[in-house]
């Protein structure tokens, strides 16, 4: 399969990339890892008139700790996320999630920023960003702006990134001591989209009371979903059988999965509850370790 014809630009700075976006208008797409975009172009589901390849822009492949945040640059690959010591130290959830994203060769190319910018509720990183309460930094002609993750996903393949802007950095607040996180998805085979995926980040005080909670759900809603009622069911309360059961019940009720080849709506709701229970327990175990 061969994509339709397009122009190709390979700028060497973000500024140059943005002026190319303004020049080509709606016809242009940013190419970073390309492992969602190129398959869509080969299948002719997308045929942009111009690809603006940002892979030659240097200095965008950092993962660093600064001002109480972990900052991840636009060209950090999923394989870099998988093996980052900084992320392993604060966020065990990234070891869980990256292992389940596609396969090793795809992770060598695919970027975490592209995974978010694609705006697909079936992708795994959006739920992790919801759980860890990330802030998305977007660069446009007038400079930078930050968008909280809860305001980032607007609809099917639609995000807060405007046509003349580029997602340049992901910022994740470093959580306090006593925090654990976990992700898991049900998948039919390696590399498949999630049937259901659940991300949890949870903070416990020394009496076992939940003082911080983030829960994100994958592929059970038109946009990546924060399980707000489940979070309220745990916040300020002890993490025990009753509160976990209530959180699981709320998540199963509040998501909107569709029946497809991966399972019926009923099955997916049930699995959201099952996985959420397991991820709360795993995150709590890690919080206490």
């Amino acid at each position: 399969m061969i994509p339709a014809n397009f122009d190709y630009e390979a700028p060497s700075s973000i500024r140059e990339a943005i002026s190319l976006l303004e020049q080509y208008g709606d016809d242009a797409k940013i190419l970073s890892g390309g492992h969602s975009l190129l398959p869509m172009m080969k299948l002719r589901l997308a045929s942009p008139g111009c690809l603006i390849d940002i892979n030659n822009i240097t200095g965008l492949d950092y993962i660093k700790e600064e001002e109480g945040l972990v900052k991840i640059g636009a060209l950090v690959r999923e394989s870099d996320v998988e093996h980052s010591d900084i992320l392993k130290k604060y966020f065990p959830i990234f070891s869980d999630v990256t292992k389940l994203i596609a396969d090793p060769q795809v992770r060598n190319r695919a970027t975490i920023a592209g995974n978010l910018a694609h705006g697909d509720a079936a992708n795994d990183q959006p739920a992790v960003m919801l759980a860890t309460r990330a802030n998305i930094i977007i660069t446009g002609p007038d400079g930078l702006r930050g968008v909280p993750i809860d305001e980032f996903f607007l609809g099917f393949y639609t995000t807060a990134i405007q046509q003349n802007e580029i997602l340049t950095e992901i910022q994740i607040p470093i959580p306090p001591n006593g925090t654990g996180s976990a992700y898991h998805k049900l998948e039919r085979k390696v590399g498949d989209y999630a049937t259901v995926g659940v991300a949890v980040q949870l903070t416990l005080d020394n009496k076992g009371i939940c003082t911080g909670i983030g829960i994100g759900l994958t592929n059970v809603n038109p946009v990546p979903l924060r399980a707000e009622r489940s979070e309220s069911a745990l916040l300020g309360k002890p993490v025990n059988e009753a509160t976990i059961a209530e959180a699981a019940k709320f998540a199963a009720e509040d998501c909107s999965p569709s029946s497809d080849l991966r399972g019926s709506e009923e099955y997916k709701r049930a699995m959201v509850g099952v996985l959420l229970k397991r991820m709360i327990l795993r995150a709590a175990e890690r919080a206490m370790a």
Partner: protein
């Protein structure tokens, strides 16, 4: 819009003209005539088109040839020296790690990066490591053994038995 690109393939530098939509795998197979890199699914699933780009295993059906500008590529044709099988090729031969052979070049290139990053992987690490490469013949067991054989050989350890195990 034709672009000029320069890429190094198996140590040899080429300067070529390419349309932006030309896929890297088509450049390798049809322009450079290196047909050891296979096209299986053409949808980033099967791994038959796996090559090394600057030492990293990637699926060449999902990379544009113009994106390889300035990069160094290794294909299956470039991994042995002076006609000697390299340890992975020897492992696949000794352990019957292939039947039809279609997945083998991709498996070997993927395993090359796996062993470069992790010279002594566990069986589980090998199985996760080749999870992006599909084989419809072997059932994978002999491929895992082939990679274990190469790992032992590259570390200078005693080679595991290549006799079939009956249980």
């Amino acid at each position: 819009m034709i672009r000029q690109i320069t890429i190094t393939v198996n140590g040899e530098e080429h300067t070529l003209q390419a349309e932006p939509r030309l896929l890297l795998v088509h450049l390798i197979r049809e322009v450079l005539n290196l047909t050891g890199t296979h096209i299986g699914c053409d949808t980033t699933s099967c791994g038959a088109c796996t090559i090394l780009m600057d030492g990293k295993s990637v699926k060449s059906c999902t990379i544009l040839a113009v994106q390889a500008n300035g990069k160094s590529i290794t294909t299956i044709e470039g991994i042995s020296t002076e006609g000697q099988l390299n340890p992975l090729q020897e492992g696949f031969k000794e352990n019957h790690g292939l039947h039809c052979g279609f997945c083998t070049p991709g498996m070997i290139l993927r395993a090359t990066e796996l062993l470069a990053n992790n010279p002594n992987p566990t069986e589980e690490e090998i199985r996760w490591g080749i999870s992006g490469n599909l084989c419809r013949c072997t059932g994978y067991n002999n491929i895992v053994k082939a990679i274990q054989y190469a790992s032992a050989k590259m570390r200078g350890e005693a080679l595991p038995s290549t006799e079939p195990q009956f249980v």
